[in-house]
């Protein structure tokens, strides 16, 4: 009986072990599927950091220009763009260590993407079809996504053993029933905060450059 029971137990243990293995493989596959393949090994650390910094700086500049264009096209005052709106991600980079702060940048960038898409859609509806803001936003989304890829690679270098939590591109939480003013205010707030975020991202990457991140990682790597 014991044996039988024991055998039963053995069988259940074996089946559990198999199940865990299969589950781990499935999770890994799922993660791989969800998490886009980031090819960070094609470039050296310095190249990566240089390109990332340039891209972030370019996007920061472009966002400023886009915001100006936005304000000009919407006849908006600066005050409206600075007002509080809970559903829009904050631009504040948090964290104690550089890795945490870079991770914060990464997370915020990911959070901004759905809001940017929403603003772009709203702008397309508001001023079709040749809306420079919508067009700029479309490019901006691509570039922000590219910045996120770069920052992800930096994170891989900064903390190679810690998996990077991937924030889902969840809905914005902004109700659809916004009036035009609310939509314009929303778009301006998103762009303003994005610009602030990118500015901070530039600063963070500069500090990485100054902190000779690549030299350390090269040493570690070697």
């Amino acid at each position: 009986m014991n044996c039988h029971v024991g055998n039963m137990v053995c069988l259940s243990q074996r089946s559990q072990a198999k199940f865990r293995m299969i589950l781990a493989i499935l999770i890994l596959i799922a993660v791989e599927l969800v998490h886009p393949t980031v090819s960070c090994k094609n470039e050296t650390c310095s190249q990566l950091l240089r390109h990332s910094l340039r891209l972030t700086r370019l996007m920061s500049k472009r966002t400023t220009e886009l915001l100006e264009t936005y304000k000009t096209s919407q006849d908006f005052a600066d005050l409206i763009c600075d007002m509080q709106m809970d559903n829009v991600p904050v631009s504040t980079v948090s964290g104690q260590t550089i890795s945490q702060r870079i991770l914060s940048v990464y997370t915020h960038l990911k959070e901004f993407l759905p809001h940017m898409k929403t603003v772009m859609e709203q702008q397309k509806d508001l001023n079709p079809p040749t809306n420079p803001v919508a067009e700029g936003l479309n490019r901006m989304i691509t570039h922000v996504r590219h910045i996120a890829v770069r920052v992800n690679c930096i994170l891989e270098i900064l903390q190679p053993n810690i998996p990077i939590p991937e924030p889902a591109e969840s809905p914005t939480g902004i109700p659809h029933a916004q009036n035009i003013f609310q939509q314009k205010a929303y778009g301006c707030i998103v762009l303003t905060r994005l610009q602030e975020l990118l500015s901070q991202a530039v600063q963070e990457q500069k500090s990485l450059k100054k902190g000779k991140m690549c030299r350390k990682s090269t040493k570690n790597g070697s």
């Binding site: 090819s39 960070c40 190249q47 370019l58 691509t142 590219h146 890829v149 770069r150």
Partner: protein, 873 residues
Amino acid sequence: MGSSHHLLVFLMFLHYAVGFTYNCVKILPDSSSSIVVEVGKNFTATCHLLEGCAYTSDDIEWRLGNLSIAKQSYHRINETAVSVTINISSDMSDWLKCTAPKESLSYKPRSIYGIFLRAGYPPLKPKNLSCIAVQEDKDISPNLSCSWDPGSRNPLIDTTYTVYANVPGTVLTHKADCKQHLARFCVVNLETFPIHMVLKVWVEVKNALGSERSELQSDSSYFAKPNPPLNVQVLTEDKFPTSLVVTWKHPIDRTILKLSYAIRYRKVTSNVWIEVPESFTRGYIESFRLQSLEPYTQYVVQMRCIGESNSSYWSNWSPSVTERTTEAKPASAPDLWRIIRPTSNSRNVTLIWKAPVKANGKIRFYNLSINQNNEKFESHNITADNLSQMYSMELPAGKMASIEITAYNSAGESPKATLSIPRSDKELPGVKDMSWSVRDEKLQVKWTAVLPLPHPLKLSEYLLEWVKIPQSVHQKELPAGWQRVPKNVTVTTLNAGLEKFKRYNISVYPIYKYQPGHVWHFQPGRPVTRPAYVQQGPPKEGPTVTVTKSKKNSAELTWEETPLDSHQGFIIHYTIFYAIGNTKQWKSETVGPNVHSYVLTDLASETDYVVYVMASTEAGSVKGTDCTFKTMKYGDGEVEVIVVVVCLSFLFLTVFIIMICLRKREVIKKLLWPQVPDPSDSSIAHWSPDFPIKADLPKEDVSVVEVDVFDGKSLCEEDKGVLPLKKDKYLSEEHSSGIGGSSCMSSPRHSVSDSDEGDSGQTTSSTVQYSTVLGSGYKGQTPSHQPPAFARSESTQPLLDCEEHPDHLNESQSRSSYFRRGRELEPGVLAPECDGGSLTFCPVQEEEPSPVAEEPPASALCYMPQKSGYRPQ
């Protein structure tokens, strides 16, 4: 019911009549569409007989298209299956059929099954994939143009090319299907160009036989091609004549693509670009100073850019910008030279010069200073003008001159050029053995170096001068060109644009230098000159020939030398062509180039000739104008000889005649002037008693009677007409003549012979006695009342013509007739003719009696008839 039965029967009949497509074979592999097979590979198909089929495997036959496949390729698997293996070639796209033939006289239908084979190749891997995204406005275009080499092999089957682009780390992949056959170019739209990202691009080629892929992955900037630098400008600076400042604007923001620049420049007159080293322009700059340029020179500048560290494609070159550097003072001296033409008691010196090679600006004027015998003679400021850079002066043969010239531009003066002209008798030696040749359509001049000269003279250089012959009439042109070569060179090529077919005098001068003080003096030596052509051609025109002397068998030709300008080369010889008239059978004679006259010999006399002269250079010949002449009939002196011979002959004949006459003068005298008996000595007076003999009759030896002819005609002339009519009678009268039978004054009827035949037995060769008849009077005497007197002559001369024609005498009876001696001396009258037609007298023998003597004369009135006869002497 009945009708439906009939319809069924009809359908059955129709079914068998048309044939039933019953099929009991099938091929594996099978496909509803074509089966693609690879060329060069073996393909095996199996034909199966379906269950219930009446055939066996032996009945199966394979066909490809309409051709049967050899049985050797069959493989019988079992009773119901036969396979076939074929090697696929590129032209085997056709039906592969398996048939079970219908047996003869069998009602079994024919079974057939086919599959369509399509032969093809698997795709080749695309090679040399490259993609480019050009700059648009201030960004990089999202359109990525990719190109590759698809290979030359035609896959024969449908093959697709697809380009993919992806930013690693992102899920979005862009792709573009390339529609064209064997595509080698395609554009993929990335929507947004991924700046500062890695970009992965690959092209995938697929067909039914496989797929291939070529990949390219690099930083996105490597795919970008920026625009050329914007607003490129070239600026000059007054104080820096050897530099230019180039400024430009970045074509794209540095946050997108940080650029480095390349600058190239060249002189306007040159096609060779000079590129500024990239290390000089590597930084992210917007200006650059080009240095070490030449003053007052136009430069063309272009720019292009590339991503930092060559991280992108090069942009195109910017449009050219041209700018000239500012002036600097001339860095070299003018090139001074002279041309000396000796005159009667002086020398005409023409100073010519060229602007400094390194003028470094526009030469405004020249300062020319001339010293004669070390004393300042004259100084001039001559405005710079390319057309009048010369100055003429007279320099006595016994004086030396020293010339200095300086060029000026807006920045300053040039170094000084000096030249010395020695006295005529102080010339320095020249080079030896100068020669020239043509190489690559240029003149190459060669000479022997001069021997070292005693101190302080030193050889400085050589100068080669060329002067076009004949000299140009354009006075604004420099009369000569010249070129200086270093002293260690003895062979050089003239870098002058010498004209073809023009003669040039090439001279080589050694230039000596000496330093009497602080300044070097330069003095040319004696020149050695040779004529030369850079290229010879046939003469422009041929010489015009003239015939100066034409003789019986020769002619002297002369031709003028054509103008030197029309020679177009060295005349190597003249050829004289000549032919008779239009025979075109030309003969030729060749003479040297210095010969301008020639004597053609062996010509036919009195013949028209055509002649022309052809001038020849080594490059060809040209004929001159034709000249026609005619040779003489007689040669030199022939006419003179003939004239002399004729004259001499005539003279000789005359002399001969004269000699004859002199020698036979007595005979001639007797013939011309027959001896007329002197009437005074006649004895007639003795036998004519009726008329006294006048004692005062002239004793002139005249045997004629002067007759006064009224009509001016002689008796003889009048007698000619009537003479033939009276011939017979005449003869009879002659025979009846009493005084020799031939005297006009003798009466035939009353001749002496009538009465005295024996007394007249003389012929004309013997002495004939003549009688003078004084018929109608003599010298004014009127013997009308006097009886006719007969005088007998003792002359032996032949009878006068008139004497032979008594008729004339009859006619003249009515006139005063005289016989003159002169008239009777005419030779024609003198010729004795004995034939009947003669008008002259003919001596007859007086002794012969005339048978018609008794007949009375028709009209014999010239003298009185002799009635009583005469007495024999």
